[in-house]
């Protein structure tokens, strides 16, 4: 159990800087998810905490220990890899107990700890098998078992579920959450899958191009994205973005020209733009409605419809030919090429300035 602190951490591969001065603090017993698109530096950051990558600049603390120069085995961190990284020539029991054996823990204690971990992970009957004889989900459990027995102060997960099929992924996700609840240990989890991030995290760190874009609880990120990147990354289907022109600023009341004929009014406190500026309006697909009940509307032509049973995705082009996504209920009566009016309320609108930052 420990907190993890990063101060101005940078990483360069040769001349190319991939992590540009990251500061972050992870609380004790917190389940934190690093999420971002491929190449954003999330795995590199995790590997730096683990000690598998050198740190170009900055400081990393696990608990109160400055770990920059510590060997990976001495940092009190244990890691689960994407490929599971099980030792193929050892049985499951030997795999789980390997670290303890090398660190000269007495045999009886190894046996006890391995049995305990196997019980938690429900893999007792697999202990004498080799990794090649296990399914993907079972291998993943063994990999987790290997970290549990070491009783680390921080668990590190590097995209551990991405090699599993969809159903198993959901199941393992829940088991990892339970595991976190049982072990009460700090966990750092890296994924590119925002669903995993949203469902598991106490707090999410969104990374992009080696910068932390925003930190917050899943709902904070969903409700108040700090910029266009976060707004577009969190939520599925992706948020819709429209270019809108500022027509009038009256104190904190602004009037915007929507694509098509409608106008809308928004209340914002930080007015850092002028009349005539083009801003970006973001509305989530689930906040669009086809009933004529809301304050604002957009005229659009339906391009394509995807029916998922419980809900319907409608893809439609607005007056400026932006492709909009609308999530409606499963029974929605709509057909292709139909002209529709998409309604929404100002409560659900996100406004972004020319610097892509959210305007509050």
């Amino acid at each position: 159990m420990a907190e993890v602190k990063l101060r101005g951490v940078k990483k360069s591969f040769d001349e190319v800087e991939v992590i540009h001065g990251v500061d972050l603090e992870i609380k004790d017993q917190e389940f934190v998810v690093f999420v971002g698109p491929s190449g954003c530096g999330k795995s590199t950051l995790l590997r730096m905490i683990a000690g598998l990558e050198d740190i170009t600049a900055g400081e990393i603390y696990i608990g109160d220990t400055y770990v920059n120069d510590l060997h990976p085995a001495d940092r009190g961190a244990a890691m689960v890899f994407q490929s599971y990284a099980l030792y193929p020539h050892m049985s499951v029991r030997e795999n789980i107990g390997f670290g303890l054996k090398l660190n000269k823990v007495p045999k009886a204690e190894i046996q006890r700890k391995v049995d305990e971990a196997a019980k938690i992970l429900k893999i007792e009957e697999l202990l004498d098998r080799r990794p090649a004889q296990l399914s993907g989900g079972q291998r993943q459990r063994v990999a987790i078992g290997r970290t549990i027995v070491r009783e680390p102060s921080v668990f590190l997960f590097d995209e551990p579920l991405s090699n599993l099929d969809a159903a198993l992924r959901v199941q393992m996700r829940m088991e990892l959450e339970k595991l976190h609840a049982n072990l009460n240990t700090t966990m750092i989890y890296v994924t590119h899958d925002q669903v995993e991030a949203m469902t598991m995290a106490d707090r999410i760190f969104i990374l992009n191009d080696g910068y932390v874009e925003q930190v917050g609880t899943p709902l904070e990120l969903y409700r108040r994205p700090a910029n266009i990147f976060v707004a577009g990354f969190i939520g599925s289907p992706k948020m819709n973005f429209l270019s809108v022109k500022v027509l009038e600023i009256n104190g904190q009341q602004i009037t915007l020209q929507l694509p098509g004929e409608d106008q809308m009014q928004l209340h914002r406190e930080n007015i850092n733009f002028r009349v005539g500026d083009i801003l970006t309006l973001g509305i989530r697909p689930e906040h669009f409605e086809l009933e004529q009940s809301k304050e604002c509307f957009l005229s659009a032509t339906v391009d394509m419809i995807e029916r998922l049973g419980n809900e319907t995705y409608i893809y439609a082009n607005d007056a400026s030919d932006n492709l909009l996504t609308v999530v409606g209920d499963g029974e929605l009566d709509v057909s292709s090429k139909e002209k529709i009016k998409i309604h929404f309320t100002t409560d659900h609108c996100h406004l972004f300035g020319r610097d892509d930052q959210s305007i509050q």
Binding site: L52, F81, Q82, Y87
Partner: protein
């Protein structure tokens, strides 16, 4: 009918390979077995006789006095006698001090050279598997000995070990003139030539170990020896067995390096089994005895190879 034609066609296609195997493998094998139970004596009867000299049209050539001129004709008659002597050649093998000495030389050579090559190969592969200054250049240099002809290597080292005026002459070591040193020199040259091969194969095997596996192990222990003994070595084992097998089979047949470097000497200090068989057969023309020696060598190699293949199959299973 169609099936029948197919069978014929198959036979036709198999024929070249079958002929090849029969000609170059089975026939020599059977022939040498046949030789090995015979005493083969090859002699040449040489006789001279005077015969008249004839000109182009076939008439005798006359000298100044009118007598026919004569010339001396040499008649060579090759007589090869094959006597079936049963297993006498094999019995001779058991009692022949030359054979005992050759077996000793070959054994020492194999037991020292092969493990050295393997150990050095693994150590170098471990070294080159890390980030290293000028790695690709050094690796290319390391591999050069593989491309040299063993016979040429033997002559090359003959000049290097040359005791008077050679580049190592200042050491005052009797590289080629002292029996023990001569065997040591042969071993040294073989190690020089074959370590790069072991190194290359082990390096490929090391690079085949997934990186995440090594990282997972690194996160569990900082003992480098622990990682080597528990992860790297077990994962290299199948490769080690194959390399060991190849090197053993090759080393037991040791011939070209002593042939070029020491000529088997001083005395018989570096006369290996193959070398002795070569001398017996193609220098002293005792073909039957040489065949018996070769057969013994073949059986020894086959026993070793079979044992190792069994071991290899176990380690894969």
């Amino acid at each position: 009918m169609k099936t029948h034609r197919n069978t014929k066609a198959r036979f036709v296609f198999l024929l070249p390979a079958a002929v090849w195997v029969l000609t170059f493998t089975i026939f020599p094998l059977v022939y040498s077995l046949y030789l090995s139970v015979h005493k083969v004596e090859t002699k040449m009867n040489v006789s001279r006789e005077k015969v008249p000299m004839l000109d182009a049209s076939g008439n005798p050539v006359l000298d100044a006095k009118g007598n026919p001129r004569t010339k001396i004709k040499i008649n060579r008659e090759k007589i090869s006698t094959w006597t079936n002597i049963g297993f006498t050649n094999f019995k001779r093998l058991a009692e022949d001090p030359q054979v005992h000495s050759a077996i000793k030389v070959t054994s020492i050579f194999v037991l020292v050279a092969v493990p050295s090559q393997l150990v050095l190969g693994i150590l170098l592969a471990l070294l080159f598997n890390q980030r290293l200054w000028a790695r690709s250049f050094l690796r290319a240099v390391m591999l050069l000995p593989i491309f040299a002809t063993p016979l040429a290597v033997g002559y090359l080292f003959f000049t290097i070990f040359y005791e008077e005026g050679g580049p190592l002459g200042f050491l005052g070591v009797p590289f080629l003139s002292h029996p023990d040193w001569a065997l040591f020199s042969v071993i040294l040259v073989d190690i020089w030539q074959w370590t790069p091969f072991c190194f290359l194969v082990f390096l490929a095997a090391l690079q085949g170990i997934p990186n995440e596996l090594m990282e997972a192990a690194k996160m569990e222990s900082k003992s480098k020896w622990g990682l080597f003994a528990n992860i790297i070595f077990p994962m290299l084992t199948p490769t080690i067995v194959i390399v060991l097998l190849l090197r053993l089979a090759e080393a037991i047949k040791l011939f070209d390096i002593p042939f070029a470097l020491t000529g088997g000497g001083p005395g018989v200090a570096t006369q290996s089994m193959s070398f002795l068989a070569f001398r017996t057969g193609l220098r002293y023309f005792d073909l039957g005895y040489a065949s018996a020696m070769s057969y013994c060598l073949l059986i020894i190699v086959m026993i070793i190879v079979t044992l190792f293949f069994r071991k290899l199959r176990q380690s894969y299973a």
